[in-house]
Symmetry: C2
Amino acid sequence: MDRSVQQSEKLSAQSLRDLGSTAFERLGVPLDDARLCTDLLVMADLFGLKTHGMSRLESYGERLRIGGIKSKPMIQIERVANAVIKVNGDNGLGPVVGMRTLHATMGVAREHGVGIGLARGSNHFGPISPYLYEAAQSGFACLVCSNATTTIAPWGGSDARLGNNPIGFGAPGPQGNHFMLDMAISVAARAKIRAALRDGMAIPSTWATDEQGLPTTDPAKALDGFLQPMGGYKGYGLALMVDLLAGVMSDASYLTHVKSWVDAPEEPQNLGHFFLLIDTKVLGPSGWLLERMKDFVQILHASEPADATRPVLVPGEIELSRMRERLRDGIDVDAALLKLLR
Amino acid sequence: MDRSVQQSEKLSAQSLRDLGSTAFERLGVPLDDARLCTDLLVMADLFGLKTHGMSRLESYGERLRIGGIKSKPMIQIERVANAVIKVNGDNGLGPVVGMRTLHATMGVAREHGVGIGLARGSNHFGPISPYLYEAAQSGFACLVCSNATTTIAPWGGSDARLGNNPIGFGAPGPQGNHFMLDMAISVAARAKIRAALRDGMAIPSTWATDEQGLPTTDPAKALDGFLQPMGGYKGYGLALMVDLLAGVMSDASYLTHVKSWVDAPEEPQNLGHFFLLIDTKVLGPSGWLLERMKDFVQILHASEPADATRPVLVPGEIELSRMRERLRDGIDVDAALLKLLR
């Protein structure tokens, strides 16, 4: 392959995994962990979640290099009750801590019908959809959330004290058509505001405020200010719920105790995650839930679209259809990322 | 007391409980269940959630009288895995099914650190805060949700196919200052639209659409149309998550299968609820979590308010301060409700 090509290239998922895993190994990450991390990031790329895919190699790699993230953490899993585990990620890569917690919690849920896993000492753990997909493939319904660097003000407050904490929920559907909801709490992501700034565009006044807490349409001022939660005080409440589960109860950092990986990339963030796994096979006879899931989706699809060109969708449908397409046609990888990978 | 008084009266919580419990007994409800239901509704009144308090005696009573709700249900609790229970409410009063499910799930969580309870065959189960309060008082963190009659359209759809499904989360705080988030998915409640209609006021265009799916400021048209979810497709996704947990996985009705208690008050609704209970004492040494909760709230309170007269609050604070006030001064009970109670 010609390394001087400046355009993007299509790679198979497996080629991207091989390149990614080798790149993480070169950064000092043991092979098993490199694979775990890469599998998750490539899954994000398959789902079309490009900002949360292999492109993260750059920021993860930078922090690995300066010691902000440990390449060889001693991850400890402690069972504190029959169906509850606490995980100390020892400042390892977020996707490694996240996936190890997911797998251990799946084991607990297989034994007891339900299990929760609370992880601390972690970092950015990628998007939530790959965790949901992996759980659903094994028959688990799954609630996942994580706290994050502060970008949102308390409702009625005037400075950023909580993160744009993501929350996701998945449930197994028929023929791999799983339900996968993966959302952050803000009306819009900071990445969208950065894109508007890059493109010289104004942003809607509902997305963010300036640093005085006043709504703004200027992306530069918005990036100095803070994000607005969806639904006002309701979104504020949900972001707090996530931080209580993922941060406070897990013994991780929370609210303003979370370090910013931008301002202090060399310091451990001590992020926390929460996983709830439900083994759906204990809920009813074989096939029972899949029948209900099928009917559930059919009812939603049968709603006449307000705009005839845009049929009603269910969370996860877009990502899963992109995955099928990319598994067939390959994943578009930017030249800059390819260069980094090679 | 003079029964002809037309204004409201202040009653002590205990007097209101006694009157309510007797009223439910007269409707054929056994004493234990009457007390369980009344305790929850009076708790709602203590929290200032008037529309979800003893005022519900009227609609609950009407459905009990015409056989839409069973006064003497055979509630069955089945343990389907070590830490999972399924409850068949047998079309009993929602607060009775809800509270029995909460208590049984607390027992499971005490054994295994975490437990989930999935209830079907239920009805409107009151507001969520009383469940959160009861769980928090015993040291449990708690996620509760329920499905509901369809009032919201799928995102991009044009007819009501999902409920304004409530979701709540609670965690024990120091000195009874528990975190209690209790919210429905819509931007605004139908009760607020009904109030606007009664008062001849317009509503914001973001609250609801008319029956064609177009935003409206006319409360009458809004009541013929459907509610808008907060955060657009994100709120749509959350409402679906709730229905999957509370309706699909519990073996209750879901989406359009849920009967409307307004259009078909004599038919069982078969609503479903979901309870997740976490025994916080397994998470850390005694006092550890309460210290963290205290710090969590202090960080939020310390954010300078954007409006100096409105300090930053944490979910549950308003309800708990109203409770203290009403326990001291009594609960304001409308004359019409008093008449019904007596």
